[in-house]
Amino acid sequence: MDIQNYKGVMVLGEQKDGHIRPVTFELLNRGRDLADKLGVELSCSILGNEIEDLTEIIYRGADKVFHVAGPALAGFLPGPYARALVRLVQEERPEIFIAAATTTGRTVMPLVAAGLKTGLTADCTLLDIDDKEKILLQTRPAIGGNIMATIKTPFTRPQMATVRPRSARPAHRDESRTGLISVKNYGDSPVSAVERFLAYVPDATQEVSIEDADIIVAGGKGLKTRDGFKLVEELARLLGAGVGASRDVVDLGWASYPHQIGLSGKTVSPKLYIAVGISGKVQHLAGMQTSETIVAINRDPEAQIFQVADFGIVGDAFEVLPELMGALKNAPGRRLREGSEDNAL
């Protein structure tokens, strides 16, 4: 493989029912930064039959959009998606190809990487360009939870990575930007009987998506029991906040999986994140450290969570939380956000 023949940065956009998913704009922000560092073009591939408003992708920083269309690509199916992307990459030859670490990105990118016999790094929290070698540095939390690993793909192209959703801000919108939108019609690929999409069922029971909450109160094992964890839920209710949980807490059954924040759960980026009784393993931090303001409450002054916190209280949650709730209830003229039912647990 002559790696010199590969130029440019490509991101994989996502759509649902023809609407561009916001995670696409986060990728464009990442991609623009990398493309500028390399002095190359940024392209965005997006698969699906009819997609509204592809110019929005240009406004958000792409120089080119490849809309890959075909009857087999209407909804996500790993096989057809992967085959289309392998073909696109072979035609366009980007040196870097990144996708979001969503259920789609985490499924299709390994197929594409295996098809192209190149490397792939999952769940990166940081992407950068090595100044000297001009190659991609992919950084992700690694084994055990307290270290980071930086990985490169030196000999093969493209250099591929998935990045945590919400680990970057959406790209700035600029309507004066121009770019090229081209349609790749791989329509000859027939709808295959090997994989058949049957239905999408929205999850009615799925409680609030905490990804969208402005404030999140999250609890960890320091709360000792399920009853202890209720303090976190109570504070969340008072603040109209979403409830988050560490992996330990979900494993213990005090909270359900949709509340799990961290590498194996959700990544959130709220205006305010209050971590209660959470020690702050890297895996958890990976899911919340881009929050605007972080408050940590923990008994252990050495807890790692304090290192990412803007404000920390060293103390027992069972003392601090009742006091805090008391003060919030009594504070005259307080300006609590509207606590909508949606945001409660």
Partner: protein
Amino acid sequence: MRIAVLIKQVPGTDNVKMDPETGVMIRTNKGNIINPLDENALEEALRIKRSREDVQVLAVSMGPESAMKAIKEAVAMGADGGVLLSGRAFAGSDTIATARALAAAISKLGDVNLVLCGERATDGETGQTGPMIAATLGIPVQTYVQRLEVADDAVKVERVVEGGFEQVKVQLPALITVVKGINEPGFPTLTGKVRARDAVVPVWGADDLGLSPEELGLKGSPTRVVKIFSPKLSRSTLLHRQDNTGRAVNELLKFLADRDIV
């Protein structure tokens, strides 16, 4: 029907420590467990075995020789047998090289209709190996599966995605990665344990798989680890100690008010 379950031996959660001097992870063999989601995959295979005639469940693992313990545990839980990929040539494999080896092993087993594994392992957390094996074998894959229905030549799955579930039907042979909610893993039984102790589980090396050393280990891996470091977490933290004066909470409220949050 033959089902291959991919199991990875991982450190039990309390079993990983960092060397405070070097920042390198210290791993010991003792206290290792089967990756929890792979236990769900195994349980799903055993569930299928209980519900149909003529199902054979084989546990496949790649790792050091001590990973034999994980395969024996799978046998004790009810698997019919297994195979361990072990040897120098495999050391240092990234996900692509690992997938190549495991795909070769599945081919060598022959007539595998269904491959099951956990959606990710608790140590690496990449979730890449499963789909990469499917791509290498050229069979369809479904990920994040929380419900599985098997027919003779196809499976119907329900996968958990952002905001809901997708129902998909794929033809066999196929590879399915499962999430925690799919079932509740069972336990090995005493008879299973005794059976596992006596079971002969073959160990295959690169030669057995017909793979050259160039395709495996570090040589067969497109990615390289450049560096490992402790994260620098950079926020300047205002730290207050809880006492009985209510001062810390008051400071917090003032801080949040200053930032126009609460």
